[in-house]
C-alpha cells in the first residue's frame, strides 16, 4: 500500500511543485480563466454539500428555542417566529431518564462492538490470506462480501426468519417439544443479536482493507524470518501483525471517533420487535422525540450534543494516534 502511494507521489511531485510555484505569480484573473472549467465542474457537488450539509448546521439553532413548526408559513420561517429559551432544552436532558438510558445503551453497544466485532475482520483476513489457491480464495471472498450489499431490512428479516419466534429454529425446536424460542424479542440478548447481525453483514467486507495491506508485505520478510527459524505462528506475530498495525490504528481511530453512532437503521427496524427500552440508542432517540413526537427543539438539542461530542472524539482519537506514532485519519 505504501509502495503504491510512494510510486504515485514520485510521478507527480515535480509537476505539483512547478504548478504550486507558478500559482503565486499568476494573477487571479488569469488563473480564473485558466481553471474556470474545473471550477464549474466542482460546483454542483459544492452546492449540494452546502445545501444539505452546511445549511442544516445553522438549523441547529432550534435547539435553543421552543420551536413550533406551525407558527409560520414553512419550517424555516418558523425559526424566526419561535421563542428563544436559552439552554432549557439541554437542562431538560439532564433530568430525562430516557435520554440517559439511550446514552447507556449507546455506550454499552459501542464497547461490545469494539470487543466482538472489530477483531473479526482481522482474523478472517488472516485466514483468507493463508488460502493460496486463487480460485478458492476468489470464490470465498465473493461470498463473504455479498451480505455487505444487502439492506438492513433484508438482514433483519433474514435473522427474524432464522432466530425469531416463527423462524426456522423455533419451528424445529417446537417439533421436538421445546416451545417459546424467540431470540428476536429477548431484550437481554438483543445486544448480542445486534452484534451478530453486524458480523454477518459487514465482517466479510471489512477484510478487504486488511487483505490490501497484507498483499503489500514483501515475501522476503517471511523468507528471512523462516531462515532465522521462525515458525508459522512466530512469522504471523512478528511480520504479519506489524504490517497490519497502521491499518488497525486507522480503523480504530475512525471507530472511536464515531463511537456514538452504533447503528441507526438496524435499531429502528427492530424497535417494534424488542421494544424501545432495549433498542433505544441516541440516534433513534432523536428520531423518536423529533420526527415521531414533534418535539423538534429537544430532539435537535440531543442531536447537537451527540454531534459535538462526536467531533471531539474524532479529533481526540486522532491526537492519540499521532502521539502513538501512527498516521491517523489526517496528517499533521
Amino acid at each position: 500500500m505504501a509502495a503504491v502511494s510512494a510510486a504515485a507521489a514520485k510521478d507527480r511531485v515535480p509537476r505539483r511543485t512547478s504548478r504550486a510555484g507558478k500559482a503565486g505569480k499568476v494573477p487571479f484573473r488569469i488563473r480564473l480563466r485558466r481553471d474556470r472549467a474545473l471550477i464549474l465542474m466542482t460546483l454542483p457537488v459544492i452546492v449540494l454539500l452546502l445545501l444539505f450539509n452546511y445549511v442544516p448546521l445553522l438549523g441547529n439553532v432550534v435547539a435553543f428555542q421552543e420551536y413550533d413548526p406551525y407558527v409560520a408559513g414553512n419550517g424555516t420561517t418558523a425559526i424566526f417566529h419561535s421563542p428563544w429559551v436559552g439552554v432549557e432544552q439541554f437542562s431538560r436532558m439532564l433530568d430525562d431518564p430516557l435520554f440517559w438510558s439511550a446514552t447507556k445503551n449507546t455506550i454499552v453497544l459501542f464497547v461490545l462492538q469494539l470487543v466482538f466485532f472489530f477483531p473479526v475482520p482481522i482474523a478472517l483476513a488472516l485466514v483468507i490470506n493463508s488460502v493460496i489457491r486463487p480460485r478458492v480464495r476468489a470464490v470465498a471472498q465473493a461470498i463473504m462480501y455479498l451480505p455487505h450489499f444487502f439492506s438492513w431490512v433484508l438482514v433483519v428479516t433474514v435473522f427474524q426468519q432464522i432466530l425469531g419466534g416463527a423462524g426456522i429454529i423455533a419451528q424445529t425446536l417446537e417439533k421436538h417439544g421445546w416451545s417459546g424460542f424467540d431470540l428476536m424479542t429477548d431484550a437481554d440478548l438483543f445486544k448480542f443479536l445486534v452484534i451478530g447481525q453486524a458480523v454477518w453483514k459487514d465482517a466479510g467486507w471489512g477484510i478487504i482493507v486488511f487483505l490490501a495491506a497484507l498483499s503489500a508485505v514483501s515475501t522476503d520478510l517471511y523468507e528471512a524470518a523462516a531462515m532465522d527459524g521462525a515458525g508459522r505462528w512466530r512469522r504471523m506475530w512478528h511480520v504479519t501483525l506489524p504490517a497490519l498495525r497502521p491499518v488497525i490504528a486507522l480503523l480504530l481511530v475512525l471507530r472511536v471517533g464515531d463511537a456514538l453512532s452504533v447503528g441507526f437503521e438496524q435499531f429502528l427496524l427492530q424497535r417494534y420487535a424488542v421494544g424501545a427500552g432495549a433498542s433505544e440508542v441516541l440516534d433513534t432517540y432523536v428520531w423518536n422525540m423529533g420526527i415521531q413526537n414533534g418535539d423538534f427543539s429537544y430532539a435537535a438539542a440531543v442531536g447537537l450534543v451527540k454531534g459535538v461530542i462526536g467531533v471531539c472524539l474524532v479529533l481526540g482519537a486522532n491526537k492519540v494516534a499521532h502521539l502513538l506514532g501512527e498516521q491517523g485519519v489526517y496528517q499533521k
Partner: protein, 308 residues
C-alpha cells in the same frame, strides 16, 4: 478433456515457496472447515429464503414454515407479485429512483473528482476542505428534516435522491484514481486543443472503467437499500419503494401485499411464500451485480485508503 485439465490446473495450488513448511493435516482441515462454515453461514439463509419463495403452498403448510429441502417448484408467488399491484409498483419506484439517482450521483461526482484532480488550480484547496470537512460532522437529523420540508421536497422523489446524492468518500476514491492516470495523456490532448470536458469524457473516463463500475455499484446499492428517507419524507403509501413495502410486510406483520390478501385468506397463496418472494426480488439486483464488480473492489478501496 482439455477443459478438465484446465479446471484441475486452475484449482491446483501455486507452488509453495521452499522455505515454507507444508501445513499440518489438522491445520489444513480446520482452515478448510472454517472457510466453508463462513460461506455456509452466508449462503444458508439465502438458500432457505429462495427455496421457500419457490415452494407451493401445501409444502410450506406441511413443513410448518420455512422450507430447507425443496419439494416441488412453483413460480406462482412471483407471477402474482409481478402482475401489477403494490409490489410491482414498488419495484418500479425503486428501479426508477436507483437509476436516476445513480446517474445523477455519478455525474456530479465524476465532474467534481476531475475538477479537483489538478492540484494548484484555483480554489482547489478550498473546495477540497469544504468537502472533506463534511466527513467529520453531520448536521443532525432534525435540521436536515426541517430543511427538506422547507424546500418543499417532501412527498416528491427528489427527497430520496438529493439529500443523499453526494458521497465524499466516493469522490475521493474517484479523484485518487484520476490523479493516478499518467499526466502525459491529458496534457497532449490539451495541446491538441481539447477542452477539459472533452479530456474527461474521451481520455480519463475510458481509462477508469474499473473504478467507475465500483463507485456506480456503491451508489446504486445505496439508493436500492435506502428506506429511512422514504419513511420520513413520503406520506403517500402509493409512492413507497420496495424496501419500505418489505418492512410493512415482514416487520409489521401485515399478512400479504394489498390486492393479494384475498388469495391468502382463501388459502390459494402462502403469506410466508409471498414474503420470501418479495425478499428475493429485493436482493436479486445486488446479488447479481456485486460479484461482477468484485475483482475491482480491492483496487478501488486501495486507492481510497491510500489517498483518502
Amino acid at each position: 478433456m482439455s477443459l478438465n485439465t484446465q479446471l484441475i490446473r486452475s484449482l491446483k495450488a501455486p507452488a509453495r515457496p521452499v522455505w515454507e513448511e507444508p501445513p499440518s493435516k489438522a491445520g489444513l482441515t480446520a482452515k478448510t472447515g472454517f472457510v466453508m462454515l463462513c460461506c455456509l453461514g452466508v449462503l444458508g439463509p439465502l438458500w432457505i429464503v429462495i427455496v421457500t419463495s419457490l415452494s407451493p403452498k401445501p409444502v410450506i403448510d406441511q413443513v410448518g414454515g420455512l422450507v430447507v429441502i425443496p419439494q416441488g417448484i412453483t413460480f406462482v408467488n412471483y407471477t402474482e407479485l409481478l402482475s401489477g399491484g403494490q409490489v410491482s409498483r414498488a419495484i418500479m419506484v425503486s428501479v426508477g429512483v436507483t437509476l436516476v439517482g445513480t446517474l445523477f450521483s455519478m455525474a456530479v461526482s465524476v465532474l467534481a473528482a476531475y475538477g479537483l484532480s489538478r492540484p494548484g488550480s484555483l480554489g482547489h484547496r478550498f473546495f477540497l476542505m469544504t468537502m472533506m470537512a463534511t466527513m467529520f460532522f453531520g448536521a443532525g437529523l432534525i435540521p436536515t428534516y426541517l430543511l427538506v420540508q422547507s424546500l418543499g421536497l417532501t412527498d416528491t422523489y427528489l427527497s430520496l435522491i438529493l439529500p443523499s446524492a453526494v458521497s465524499v468518500f466516493n469522490i475521493l476514491v474517484l479523484r485518487a484514481f484520476f490523479m493516478g492516470i499518467s499526466p502525459e495523456l491529458p496534457e497532449s490532448a490539451r495541446i491538441d486543443g481539447a477542452s477539459d470536458l472533452r479530456i474527461l469524457l474521451t481520455i480519463i473516463m475510458p481509462l477508469s472503467r474499473a473504478v467507475l463500475a465500483v463507485i456506480s455499484l456503491f451508489y446504486a446499492v445505496g439508493y436500492w437499500s435506502a428506506w429511512f428517507n422514504a419513511s420520513i419524507y413520503l406520506t403517500d403509501q402509493q409512492m413507497m419503494p420496495l424496501q419500505n413495502v418489505l418492512i410493512q410486510l415482514v416487520q409489521k406483520n401485515t399478512e400479504a401485499p394489498t390486492g393479494l390478501q384475498q388469495a391468502v385468506r382463501t388459502g390459494q397463496l402462502s403469506a410466508l411464500g409471498l414474503q420470501m418472494a418479495v425478499m428475493v426480488l429485493a436482493l436479486i439486483p445486488v446479488a447479481v451485480a456485486s460479484p461482477f464488480v468484485q475483482r475491482h473492489f480491492k483496487k478501488g478501496m486501495l486507492t481510497g485508503a491510500v489517498k483518502g
